[in-house]
């Protein structure tokens, strides 16, 4: 830890601890997912958020309960922080009926109507137009809600990104664009995919107020998201946050991670979002090592209970295979 990372945390102690707790919950949840994948309990594609926890925790705590969330295929952390029970998420990944989507979505497609969590989208950039539309519905119906859309810097190369930013800016829609720039689109490094590597600059070209934020610092993320969400809610049109972050683990469980330097990963780990916050809180006497260990134990216990819940879950009967293809059954 260098000195500058021990800058004071200007948040209420309770909120600081909640941010820390949620980052640890995500970390422990994701580590468990990796193990369970190894055991064959979770199948399909699995993308872990380890290293990027500050982004979901910081942004989601800046939002209100009736705001909408549109996320990506790397969304366990967002679902967890948004308030979906860990067991329900885990059961979904186990393909169980008790999962949020009754085992029809899996890791990449977590949905929850109760918390306005609109997925879980496995098409890169696919969620951006959706968030624009949710915001359009709010604007047309006179509601002051925010639609927050998470996507990676890889999505910024898609047409959907440019079309969505243009529409949101043109119609002054209440969208909070959250670009999780983790520097790699699967195995393709930022510089190898983008002529302009500054995502906030791209957004500014659409006249959207945009800001680059240290995505390894949950306090910075929370403060930037709070300000941006307030501006969006006030009706001044969309805002764009580029959250500079890094994933410690491979893109997915199928990725041998051969395209980046191990030293680069280690360098980013030195700036880990959990240590970043816990050390600062310790320095200002808001956290003891004992308290941190207790918080970690609590997260481990929550995950263990989630796994038990998922293990005990039941299987959707094959007779219900076609259910929910349409609202009313179609011959």
């Amino acid at each position: 830890m260098d000195e500058s990372s021990l800058t004071p945390v200007p948040l209420a102690p309770e909120l600081s601890l909640q941010l820390l707790r949620d980052m640890v919950r995500i970390r422990r949840f994701e580590e468990a997912c990796a193990d369970l994948y190894g055991q064959g309990k979770i199948r399909g594609f699995l993308h872990l958020y380890v290293g990027e926890e500050a982004v979901a925790a910081g942004v989601l705590h800046a939002l209100a309960a009736d705001d909408a969330i549109v996320a990506t295929y790397r969304e366990h952390g967002h679902a967890l922080v948004r308030g979906m029970p860990a067991g329900v998420i885990m059961a979904e990944m186990f393909g169980k009926r008790e999962g949020c989507c009754r085992g029809r979505g899996g890791s990449m497609h977590l949905f929850d109507a109760g918390t306005r969590f609109y997925g879980g989208n496995a098409i890169v950039g696919g969620g951006l137009p959706l968030a624009v539309g949710l915001a359009l519905a709010d604007k047309m119906q006179g509601r002051s809600r925010v639609s927050a859309c998470f996507f990676g810097e890889g999505a910024a190369a898609e047409g959907a990104f440019h079309e969505s930013l243009n529409l949101a800016a043109l119609w002054r829609l209440p969208v909070l664009f959250c670009c999780e720039n983790n520097r790699y689109a699967m195995g393709t490094a930022l510089e190898r995919a983008h002529a302009e590597t500054d995502m906030a600059h791209k957004a500014a070209a659409y006249r959207i107020g945009a800001e680059r934020v240290d995505g390894m610092d949950v306090v910075a993320v929370y403060e930037a998201a709070t300000n941006a969400a307030a501006a969006v809610r006030a009706g001044s049109g969309p805002r764009f946050l580029e959250l500079l972050t890094y994933r410690y683990r491979a893109h997915s469980m199928f990725d041998p991670d051969l395209y980046r330097d191990k030293a680069e990963i280690e360098r980013w780990k030195q700036r880990g979002p959990i240590h970043n916050l816990s050390n600062r809180l310790k320095a200002q006497q808001q956290l003891t090592e004992e308290a941190f260990l207790a918080l970690d134990a609590q997260a481990l216990s929550e995950v263990a209970q989630a796994v038990t819940f998922a293990e005990r879950g039941t299987l959707e009967p094959v007779a219900d295979l076609l259910k929910d293809t349409y609202t009313e059954p179609v011959a």
Partner: protein, 329 residues
Amino acid sequence: MNAPARVSYREALREAHREALRCDARVFLMGEDVGRYGGSYAVSKGLLAEFGPERVRDTPLSELGFVGAAIGAALGGMRPIVEIMTVNFSLLALDQIVNTAATLRHMSGGQFSVPLVVRMATGAGRQLAAQHSHSLEVWYAHIPGIKVLAPATIEDAHGMLALALADPDPVVMFEHALLYNLEAARPSTWPRVDIARAAIRRPGTDISLVCYGGTLWKTLEAATALSAEGIEAEVIDLRVLRPLDDETLFDSVRRTHRALVVDEGWKTCSLAAEVMARLGEQAFYDLDAPLARVCSAEVPIPYAKQLEDAALPQPATIAAAVKRLLGRP
């Protein structure tokens, strides 16, 4: 003010939009040039003045973006109608229709429905060449999670929109570009239609001719010509391309024992192929002759009139195919 005595397919659609916009504050129309321009096929002409730019919303040329936004708006409680100028441009929005609109309900375990209506012009016949002449209805009819409509008559053009809007799931509606100018006497009241059944547009006893959209009128013309030669063809308008109404098809074939499908799509993997497969699977023993079809030639639709005409099903080619099937000279 008395309503004019005649009404066109275009006007019927426009009236359906007007009624929908009047009846339900959640309904809005969006698409390229639907507002100030009045719609590229003039369907929405005058609606901007009546309902304003929020509800008759011009979009930039962003098919993927605005179709995706309509899906989001539907999730947010609105009832959007999206006009995509033509099926050709809908390919730019295919991702949102196929990967999002069609999947969302199932993938979310039934939590989120997408009450979205996507309308688009389709078909060839106006010398618009290879990129403006597609009939890709079957691409959409392939996809579970959406419903596909093809209004071929003025009554359907009027009646299907409200039903599509009332449907809780995504509905894609194809309007053959040659039908917009179709005209008929205005009915005293609009008939009720459904979006469940195929329709027998001409009863007959000798063969079932199955068609939809723009080919209905060509097929009816062929049937009239055949009648003069003593062949009575039954003409079935599919109307709903997904889900297909098997019963009406099977029932007709049980009576006529022969079937020919007319489809402006290309033959390979066409909707005609699907109809024939169903008849082969489930009506095989009712058939007295092999199944047959008249489709578009397997070529990008050419510009020159004689080439375009030759590429598309025509009344004469339909009639000739029927006679071949019946072993008539």
